[in-house]
């Protein structure tokens, strides 16, 4: 494992995109920053620009309108990077599947522009912050194999 890969595992910077979520997953994402969970212990921080990010945290169903924007944001991230699909909606569009305003699910949307994208699924409606931390740890484990 290269030094930079080790460093990448130790310092994942997260950029959060709301792709049409009901805000329930988003407040759970914000809970990760609070004293109770404090993901900065693992070197993870929320950043303001996708250019700085290593993790794209996507919440929401990915509507038709946001689909090209989500792809654009993904393209703007420097590789290697990881996509975190948070919540039932981001995993498989949840109860909104087959609704008229749906684009493709988040994983399909991302894979349309980058077939080798690393996508981690966090099921739940909304997932607990613990589940997101577990997903982040799984992502770190996967990055070891790069």
């Amino acid at each position: 494992m290269a030094l930079t890969t080790w460093a990448l595992r130790k310092s994942l910077w997260v950029y959060h995109v709301n792709a049409g979520a009901c805000n329930n997953c988003d407040i759970e994402v914000l809970a990760l920053l609070t004293p109770r969970f404090d993901i900065e212990r693992f070197g993870m921080i929320l950043v303001g620009s996708p250019r700085h990010a290593d993790v794209l945290a996507v919440t929401g169903v990915c509507t038709r309108q946001i689909m090209p924007r989500l792809q654009e944001v993904y393209m703007q991230m420097p590789k290697p990077c990881v996509v975190l699909a948070i919540g039932a909606c981001a995993n498989a569009q949840g109860i909104f599947t087959e609704a008229y305003h749906m684009g493709a699910a988040v994983d399909e949307t991302i894979k349309a522009v980058d077939p080798s994208a690393i996508i981690i699924y966090v099921p739940g409606c909304p997932p607990k912050p613990e589940a997101m931390i577990a997903a982040a740890v799984k992502g770190m484990e996967f990055l070891k194999t790069l």
Binding site: A2, A7, R41, P78
Partner: protein, 317 residues
């Protein structure tokens, strides 16, 4: 100094300041976390961040002008290394540095801000251009009171524009800060230092949740790492400048001299962090008002007091 000695000083001071700055960044993040009742990152976190960014790709926006965009962070980093070398050298050996090195350091410390503007403008992003315009206004705001404050120390030390001369003069008459004009000047310099470091309440240029890291919005990978290193070195260099100019520098003849230097240095850093954690961000117009109509008159009063004190021979004024 012969050339090889200069090279050794440059590399040693540059790398040392970089490591020290990254460690101080950790102090910043840890104290912030403790203020917010969090645990905070491990001590090596800023260094890991830099290593990670070195391994990422550098994306170039379609609208960017490549040369300026990529050259700006490199020049900023190199400038900080030169400034750090001059400051550490004059701290270690006050008798050796060249004439007028204080003025050179003041100019060098302004270059990272100029390069930030250049890089941000070259990136072609609207967020970055808003950030660049704010950075420019910020620079115009704090440079004048900062220079007046330093001028107080210069006036009290018999008009020497040499860092070594300032330190030697303070060794004879006592630190500048232990006088009315000196204390006022130091206070102003601390607030200007906050603005120069781009920390809350003066972080308008890169306001994270407002214009998305503003000036740095388009930077990624090694170029962003360069900016982070420049800012880390700035965090190490600015308290050093203040300790040298206002607070007596380093007393090298006894072991407690090093201890007292370290204490003053860390005190200034922690002060910066606490100011950053207990204040909201000011708008750019409020920032300019604070500096131009608040701090500049106070700095002029301090300078007048210092001149009267020098002319009448009153040491405490």
């Amino acid at each position: 100094m012969n050339p090889s000695e200069i090279v050794i000083w440059f590399i040693g001071a540059g790398l040392g300041t970089l490591l020290l700055g990254l460690l101080l960044k950790w102090v910043d993040r840890k104290v912030t976390a403790r203020v917010q009742w969090r645990v905070g990152p491990p001590w090596y976190q800023p260094m890991v961040d830099i290593i990670k960014l070195m391994g990422k790709e550098t994306l170039m926006p379609v609208t960017a002008r490549g040369t300026g965009f990529l050259l700006a962070p490199v020049i900023a980093l190199a400038t900080m290394a030169v400034a750090a070398t001059i400051l550490w050298r004059s701290l270690w050996d006050p008798s050796s540095p060249f004439l007028g090195d204080l003025i050179v350091v003041i100019y060098l410390l302004a270059i990272p801000a100029l390069m930030t503007m250049l890089g941000a403008s070259a990136s072609g992003s609207p967020h970055a251009s808003v950030g660049a315009s704010r950075e420019m206004k910020l620079l115009l705001s704090y440079e004048l009171p900062m220079f007046l404050a330093i001028l107080v120390a210069v006036a009290r030390s018999g008009w020497t524009f040499q860092l070594g001369g300032l330190v030697t003069a303070q060794a004879q008459t006592g630190p500048v800060v232990f006088s009315i004009s000196g204390a006022l000047a130091m206070l102003i310099a601390i607030i200007c230092m906050q603005a120069k470091l781009g920390l809350v309440p003066f972080d308008v240029a890169e306001a994270e949740c407002e214009i998305m890291s503003g000036v740095y919005v388009e930077y990624s990978g090694p170029a962003l790492a360069n900016w982070l290193m420049t800012r880390a070195m700035m965090l190490a260099v600015m308290p050093l400048l203040l300790v040298e100019v206002f607070w007596g520098g380093l007393y090298r003849q006894a072991w407690w001299g090093f201890l007292s230097f370290l204490g003053r240095y860390v005190l200034l850093v922690v002060l910066v962090v606490l100011i950053r954690n207990t204040n909201p961000r000011l708008r750019i117009d409020q920032t300019m008002k604070v500096f131009w109509f608040g701090l500049t008159p106070v700095a002029i009063v301090a300078l007048v007091l210092a001149l009267i004190g020098q002319a009448e021979g009153i040491a405490w004024l």
